[in-house]
């Protein structure tokens, strides 16, 4: 009897384990399909659901929060998608959340993505219709891709031509092959570097000088910043102005004088007029000069005669000795 009981127990264990596994299997599948637990319904309306099916997952921020329970036509252009969402999401999803249809991976199942738009809005309630975003259409993508491809082809063609032109240009290649250019370039850069360092030094000096001018008491500083000097300078300038006006007066007087002299020279009877304008005076002077020349010649003869005179010979010899 006990052996029979033992066998029955083993059978019971066997059967219950099998049943438990079956129930677990069904439970987990059901849980994944949101059959158990409390849910609420949200709706979204699309023009095109792109093959979305009942039971596809609904994700909020990338986490599965429910599944599509029903898809039905509202009219000829609008399809309404009913989503069973876990009750706990009532505290998270807001009325302005965006709904879009995406794909799980590249070739995976369709999923409904709910995303927050980060703006304040009240929380969702049962049977709310959420805003939808137009799903990314593969046709549109391909169309854009086609256009991009064409553009790339054109760009590639242009690039090819450019490169061919570059390749064909002997001048450019010669320039590139030339060893002289890089060396020159190198020395140019080196010089530039030196120059820039020197400039830096100069600038430093200039800065120091400016600092000194600003703060110090040198000439430039005094020039630029001393108010007393500026007053003095102003006075000097004023005096110069005065001197200038006096000089004007003087010049005016000189002008009058020269005019008078000029008139005198041209029309007057004074000595200057006689000197400059009277031609008879020139003749008189000439005559006088000739007379003087003749007189001096004669004087020379008389002097020579005097040297040879015995009375004065001793005197002249004495002079030559002293020389």
């Amino acid at each position: 009897m006990s052996s029979k009981l033992y066998k029955n127990m083993k059978l019971g264990f066997f059967v219950s384990t099998g049943m438990a596994l079956l129930i677990l299997l069904l439970y987990f599948i059901g849980k994944n399909r949101n059959l158990f637990g409390s849910n609420f319904v949200l709706k979204a309306r699309f023009e095109n659901v792109q093959g979305l099916k009942d039971g596809n997952n609904v994700r909020y921020a990338g986490i599965d929060v429910g599944s599509v329970s029903k898809i039905k036509f509202i009219n000829d252009t609008v399809v309404e998608v009913f989503m069973n969402i876990e009750n706990k999401m009532k505290k998270i999803i807001r009325k302005n959340a965006l709904v879009s249809i995406g794909t799980d991976g590249l070739v995976g199942n369709k999923v409904v993505n709910i995303s927050s738009i980060r703006k304040q809005s009240p929380l969702v309630q049962e049977n709310d219709v959420l805003i939808t975003r137009k799903p990314i259409d593969t046709d549109d993508m391909l169309r854009t891709l086609f256009k991009t491809n064409n553009d790339i082809a054109i760009i590639a063609e242009n690039l090819k031509q450019t490169i061919m032109q570059i390749n064909e240009s002997t001048a450019l290649w010669n320039f590139l092959k030339d060893d002289f250019v890089p060396k020159k370039l190198h020395s140019f850069v080196f010089n530039l570097d030196v120059a820039s360092k020197k400039t830096n030094l100069i600038l430093d000096d200039a800065k120091i000088a400016i600092d000194k001018i600003t703060n110090g008491s040198g000439t430039i500083s005094t020039l630029l910043y001393d108010t007393v000097l500026s007053n003095d300078l102003r006075n000097i300038v004023k005096n110069i102005n005065n001197a200038g006006s006096q000089a004007d007066e003087l010049a005016r007087k000189i002008n009058i004088l020269t005019n008078k002299i000029d008139a005198d020279i041209n029309q007057g009877y004074g000595p200057i007029h006689a000197l400059l304008k009277d031609s008879t005076i020139v003749h008189s002077i000439n005559r006088s000069m000739n007379n003087i020349e003749k007189a001096t010649d004669r004087f020379n003869i008389y002097m020579e005669a005097l040297k040879h005179n015995f009375l004065f010979r001793g005197y002249f010899k004495k002079i030559e000795k002293n020389k």
Partner: protein, 256 residues
């Protein structure tokens, strides 16, 4: 001539089997109920088959995973390995392989047991003694196979999936938790329910064919052997035919 005899024999067999099945359903609900015998048979057929079924299931899961793995890596979908192995085991391989092993073990034992009882005229003796041999021998065994095979298959599936988990972890690395999450994520009721329902038919087929072959065994020890052999062969073929029917029906009902 030969063909006509063969076809006559075939249709005779089909007719007799149908009659036998009809008998089963006719007497199935009639008292007296051989409860103790049913439990005993359940123990022998179900519990005692578990080690064999578990071993084959484990190896099946492990081998299937290791065989699939290189191709999955080639296609870059290694991460989908648990999902694919899970679906394959739950939907098809688990039920069919387990049912075939079950047919080999239980079909042959029922065929041989009833055949030898028939040959040694124990069935006739039973009838004389007032016990209904059909109820006592056939209904209890058929009920036991019908009820036990689904449980065996569920256990075998679980063991297979565990073998698959080990198989994935031989070269790759995946947490136990994530493995099961992936399997359950990919499974749906339409994968499990038809696969589970068809196992009852498999169990029923193994039991009823084993019993029919044994119950109608020819005289002599040769008859016992041939009835055991026929029980295994016919029930194995029946399992495949039922599998084909099941997939077509579930397809028609939109479960695929």
């Amino acid at each position: 001539m030969q063909n006509s005899i063969r076809s006559k024999t075939f249709f005779n067999e089909v007719g007799n089997t149908s009659k036998f099945i009809g008998n089963f359903f006719a007497r199935f609900l009639q008292p007296p109920y051989e409860i103790q015998e049913i439990f005993k048979q359940c123990y022998i057929i179900g519990y005692k088959s578990l080690p064999l079924v578990g071993l084959t299931g484990f190896i099946m899961g492990l081998v299937l995973t290791m065989q699939l793995r290189p191709f999955m890596i080639d296609y870059g979908v290694e991460s989908q390995l648990p999902a694919i192995v899970g679906i394959a085991i739950i939907r098809e391989i688990g039920p069919v392989i387990t049912a075939l092993i079950f047919a080999g073990k239980i079909g042959s034992s029922i065929g041989a047991e009833l055949g030898s009882m028939k040959v040694t005229e124990q069935i006739d003796a039973m009838e004389v003694s007032g016990t209904n041999p059909f109820k006592y021998l056939v209904i209890s065994r058929v009920l036991a196979t019908t009820l036990m095979l689904p449980i065996l298959i569920i256990l075998s599936d679980a063991i297979s999936l565990y073998g698959s988990y080990l198989g994935v972890n031989i070269k790759g690395s995946i947490s136990f938790n994530f493995f099961w999450t992936q399997i359950f994520e990919s499974l749906e009721f339409r994968d499990v329910i038809p696969a589970y329902i068809k196992t009852y038919f498999f169990g029923f087929a193994v039991g009823i064919i084993g019993c029919y072959k044994g119950y109608n065994s020819n005289k002599g020890t040769e008859g016992v052997g041939s009835s055991a052999n026929a029980a295994v062969v016919v029930s194995s073929v029946m399992i495949f035919i039922l599998d084909l029917l099941a997939v077509q029906i579930s397809d028609l009902l939109g479960f695929n």
